[in-house]
């Protein structure tokens, strides 16, 4: 015992002194440590918020750049010189019109909770949309950032339609049409797909969950199908197709298409609503889709018409960007290439063979590129979506490639609703516009060119 008592006592003393030290530590450090932990937590959150917010504000600016100058140049170059300003004006003025609508009711209809079809008016006049994040949409950015980011989508969507009615619609009718269209079609459609509790919202309680990362249904099907309705309702441009309606400046269109390509990174990668790896994945898919589609269209045209054209290459690139939009946050890089290549070829056939067969005048092919590219992309999203990229179903299979064929059917349901809403809604709106201000420019005004007859100015003057 005598021999063993020394180490035991020593151990006891040691343990006691350790306990005492720990007790002293626990008494003196805790308030400080807790505060430091809290500070650290705050600093980490603030750093993440700064990072995410920086990317989302950049993305918002990139998406606005797609409308002006991107789309304004792309479309502006495709029309005849007497209509260049009126066509650019369609895109530009929507940057103002939709902004005001968005602030008054648009954001609320799209993103407030409400019915599965549209949101209530809790955010009307942007009430309560400030620095605090809305965790349903983006926990690490101010809701105001999310609001301004989504506004840029609401701007470009009606601007896309203008490609169908270019060169022959009255400016007053265009203003009324796009304002009503935003209220009746875009805001509810955005709510159904992205709003909390929306019918198709896959991550926020939708009854028929469909995947639409950045707007295949919301942006491209609605605008593209509505474009077809506008083209059919308005009728052909005077002199179409026997008079020359060659694009007056493909240099402008090429610059515009390149701006669209770059801006689309904000559109798709920004739709991750943070600056994390999902944004990277969407960025990569977007770029690959665009590249494959430019090649797809170009080679199809090369085989079909004998020459690979600049207009073909840029049209293909836009078609690919359209098709990859819904899929961008759900698919691997190689499926993105497949989706892009398919869109390039299919949209080429649409605007050449199919348009010729049915003989409608979709002046700048808003339907052929956005309606068809958007539909193709929305369906292929159901095929190629994978939980490896974006685990929306918490470990369960996502698309057909994961073994969930049902997703393709959900995508088809979302596609069908978008088509029906766009067809019926746009037809009614056109009737209203026709009964009030009249939609089609007077024959003399159309012959003279809308720049002079609607706006009293010319894009190119000899003397100046």
């Amino acid at each position: 015992m005598g021999n063993s008592s020394v180490p035991i006592r020593a151990a006891r003393v040691c343990a006691l002194s350790l306990l005492a030290a720990a007790a002293a530590f626990a008494q003196s450090i805790p308030p400080d440590l807790e505060k430091r932990l809290a500070d650290l937590d705050k600093a980490t959150k603030s750093a993440q918020m700064s990072g995410d917010n920086a990317w989302m504000l950049t993305s918002a600016a990139l998406v606005l750049m797609m409308t002006g100058p991107g789309l304004a140049l792309f479309y502006g170059g495709l029309v005849r010189r007497k209509n260049v300003l009126s066509t650019m004006m369609h895109s530009f003025i929507l940057m103002a019109v939709v902004t005001i609508l968005w602030a008054v009711v648009g954001y609320s209809i799209a993103f407030a909770e409400g019915t599965p079809i549209f949101g209530d008016l809790r955010y009307a006049f942007l009430r309560g949309v400030g620095a605090a994040p809305n965790a349903d949409y983006g926990a690490t950015i101010p809701q105001q950032t999310y609001m301004i980011y989504q506004l840029m989508f609401a701007i470009i969507t009606p601007a896309l339609i203008s490609g169908a009615f270019a060169e022959r619609m009255k400016f007053s009718a265009m203003m009324l049409l796009t304002a009503l269209w935003s209220l009746v079609i875009y805001f509810p459609m955005a709510h159904m797909v992205w709003g909390k509790g929306g019918l198709f919202n896959a991550s926020l309680g939708g009854k028929i969950p469909a995947f639409d990362f950045a707007g295949g249904t919301v942006v491209h099907i609605t605008s593209g199908v509505s474009a077809l309705i506008c083209a059919l309702y308005l009728g052909k441009r005077l002199g179409y197709p026997h008079e020359s309606m060659r694009p007056h400046n493909l240099v402008l269109s090429t610059v515009g298409a390149c701006l669209l390509w770059v801006g689309w990174f904000g559109f798709n990668a920004g739709s991750a609503v943070n600056a994390g790896s999902l944004a990277t994945s969407a960025f990569v898919a977007t770029h690959f889709g665009a590249a494959a589609a430019a090649l797809g269209w170009m080679f199809a045209e090369w085989l079909h018409s004998g020459k690979p054209s600049m207009l073909g290459a840029i049209s293909g690139c836009v078609a690919g960007l359209v098709a990859i939009t819904p899929a961008s946050g759900f698919v691997q890089p190689f499926p993105a290439i497949l989706i892009g290549a398919a869109a390039g070829v299919v949209c080429f056939l649409m605007v050449t063979a199919v348009k010729k067969k049915f003989n409608y005048d979709d002046a700048l092919d808003a339907f052929g590129v956005h309606g068809i590219g958007g539909t193709l992309g929305a369906i292929l999203t159901g095929v190629f979506a994978t939980k490896e990229i974006n685990d929306v179903y918490s470990g369960k299979p996502m698309g057909w490639i994961d073994g969930n064929f049902g997703q393709v059917l959900n995508q088809l349901a979302a596609v069908a609703v978008s088509w029906v809403l766009a067809i019926v809604g746009t037809w009614i709106i056109l009737k209203i516009c026709d009964a009030t201000v009249g939609v089609r420019a007077a024959e003399q005004d159309e012959v003279e060119g809308l720049d002079l007859s609607m706006h009293g100015e010319e894009g190119y003057t000899l003397e100046a």
């Binding site: 197709p241 060659r246 018409s305 073909g312 605007v351 348009k355 092919d365």
Partner: protein, 112 residues
């Protein structure tokens, strides 16, 4: 005085200008024009829409010279503008009634 109106291929303009300068002709007016004679146009295709483009870009040179230089100028101009293919263009020659230098009222050949 003669007015020479030459419609030539745009890419021959530099050669023609150099040649005329080398024989001392230094006044001329150039216009970018479109037109065609026997040269056939070409086909352009935009998203499947085919257009036959008959009016091709040309350059029109106008100048007024003294009667004495007429042959020399025509010879120089045709030699410089000729490639031997259809589409090289044409030269038209007109008599000129008078010429006036706006700056100082010089008249006739003195105004050239």
């Amino acid at each position: 005085m003669k007015k020479i109106e030459a419609i030539i291929q745009p890419h021959k303009l530099e050669d023609v200008k150099e040649a005329l300068k080398s024989i001392g002709v230094d006044g001329m007016t150039i216009t970018e024009v479109r037109g065609h004679g026997r040269q056939k146009g070409h086909k352009e295709v935009y998203r499947g829409m085919e257009y036959q483009v008959d009016l091709l870009p040309k350059v029109k040179i106008e100048m007024v010279i003294t009667d004495a230089r007429h042959d020399e100028v025509i010879r120089t101009l045709t030699a410089a503008a000729r490639s031997g293919k259809i589409g090289d263009g044409k030269i038209f020659v007109y008599d000129v009634a008078d010429a006036i230098r706006i700056r100082n009222d010089d008249r006739g050949e003195a105004a050239l």
